[in-house]
């Protein structure tokens, strides 16, 4: 079976972020790419948490 489009997009997201060598950007983007709330996928959770609940 072909790879899901969801996986294609998510891998692209991960590549963009992990390939980034700028530490500040990396930290910022890591939050956006990996720390999303189960209920609405919104990454703003990180605004007032360490984002450890992903």
């Amino acid at each position: 079976m072909a790879k899901p489009i969801n996986a294609i997009i998510a891998e692209s997201t991960a590549r963009q972020y992990y390939d980034n060598n700028n530490k500040q950007d990396f930290a910022q983007l890591r939050t956006k790419s990996l720390v999303v709330d189960d209920n609405d996928g919104h990454p703003r959770l990180s605004t007032y948490s360490d984002g450890s609940d992903d």
């Binding site: 489009i5 997009i9 998510a10 991960a14 990996l34 999303v36 189960d38 209920n39 609405d40 996928g41």
Partner: protein, 316 residues
């Protein structure tokens, strides 16, 4: 004095934010059941017995009559960490745990208020097609949308269009365990993977306006109150990716009323709704509703009194 029951995982930034807004007196009314800490929190559910519920937490035992309202938010099962690792058994236990927690709704009297709603109503409301159907029936503008596993449907869909996931943007790929599939423009790089729909269905939707004309609107309905905030994100199809802070937005009364009716028609007392405002035409488009979405970041950015509204709903 009856208590306020909050059912959520130990780490839930929205709840932490909410609890920090309460007075010391109000905090004494709150019982926090942490779904991922079975070492501290246990339940006995017996809806056909005289005593329908035993809730054990922090050395206290409560029953179904001890609570006036329930905030059912982020029910993450415990982390099992079996040794040796057994991923399939973990998945099985997690699913059993979720069903167990959802059964709570059958153990409380009808007088108890649920926020955002009963678990079964929260889950039903998560279906994006149901939301669009109801929104359309209430006279809201919605984008042309298909949920499909047919590659040809994606290839023949009118341009410009976007792709998004049916339920969760968290996809288990990559070295770190998972990454996010944000709402994405359907371009050639997506079209060449159209067969991937056979493996995992998705949602395709007509893009309703250009990025430069797009204003992302987050509407938070709490009880009878409706709060709106706006954010322009001209670089992103998916408004969740912007760094810019939200600002309060004044919705037309007719729209506010219809969104409030949408939430109540889903038997909910809360809804975090995503809309797009087309600056060029002045038209609002309903995109989706998050039945248990986050809202604290909106208050943090805009100072709209969302904590106050949630507090009043739960306590009144």
């Amino acid at each position: 004095m009856q208590k306020i029951l909050i059912i959520t995982a130990e780490e839930d930034a929205t709840i932490e934010y909410f609890l920090s807004s309460l007075s010391e007196e109000d905090r004494l009314d709150v019982v926090h059941y942490k779904t991922d800490r079975p070492d501290l929190n246990q339940l006995v559910l017996s809806p056909t017995n005289d005593h329908k519920l035993e809730l054990h937490t922090d050395g206290q035992i409560y029953n179904e009559m001890d609570f006036k309202s329930i905030y059912y938010r982020r029910t993450i099962p415990p982390k099992f960490n079996f040794q040796p690792p057994d991923f399939r058994l973990e998945m099985y236990c997690e699913d059993e745990y979720i069903r167990f927690l959802e059964s709570l709704e059958y153990c409380f009297p009808e007088t108890v208020k649920w926020f955002p709603g009963k678990p079964s109503d929260i889950n039903r409301a998560k279906n994006k097609l149901l939301q669009l159907k109801l929104a359309q029936s209430l006279g809201l503008a919605i984008p042309v949308t298909s949920m499909t596993n047919r590659p040809e449907a994606l290839l023949s869909f009118e341009h410009p269009s976007i792709y998004k996931t049916i339920k969760s943007p968290n996809v288990p790929v990559g070295d770190k365990g998972h990454s996010a599939a944000w709402t994405t423009e359907i371009d050639e790089s997506i079209r060449q993977h159209a067969d991937g729909l056979l493996t995992c269905p998705g949602i395709i939707q007509k893009r309703v306006c250009s990025l430069v004309d797009k204003l992302d609107i987050r509407v938070t309905a709490i009880g009878d109150l409706v709060f709106a905030a706006e954010n322009s994100s001209p670089q992103h199809i998916d408004g969740r990716l912007t760094n810019a802070p939200y600002q309060a937005h004044l919705l037309p009364t007719w729209l506010s009323n219809r969104l409030s009716r949408l939430v109540s028609s889903l038997s909910l007392n809360f809804g975090a709704m995503d809309l797009i405002y087309d600056l060029s035409s002045g038209k609002y488009w309903f995109i989706e509703l998050n039945s248990n979405g986050q809202w604290a970041f909106i208050e943090e950015d805009t100072s709209l009194p969302l904590c106050f509204a949630v507090r009043n709903f739960l306590w009144k």
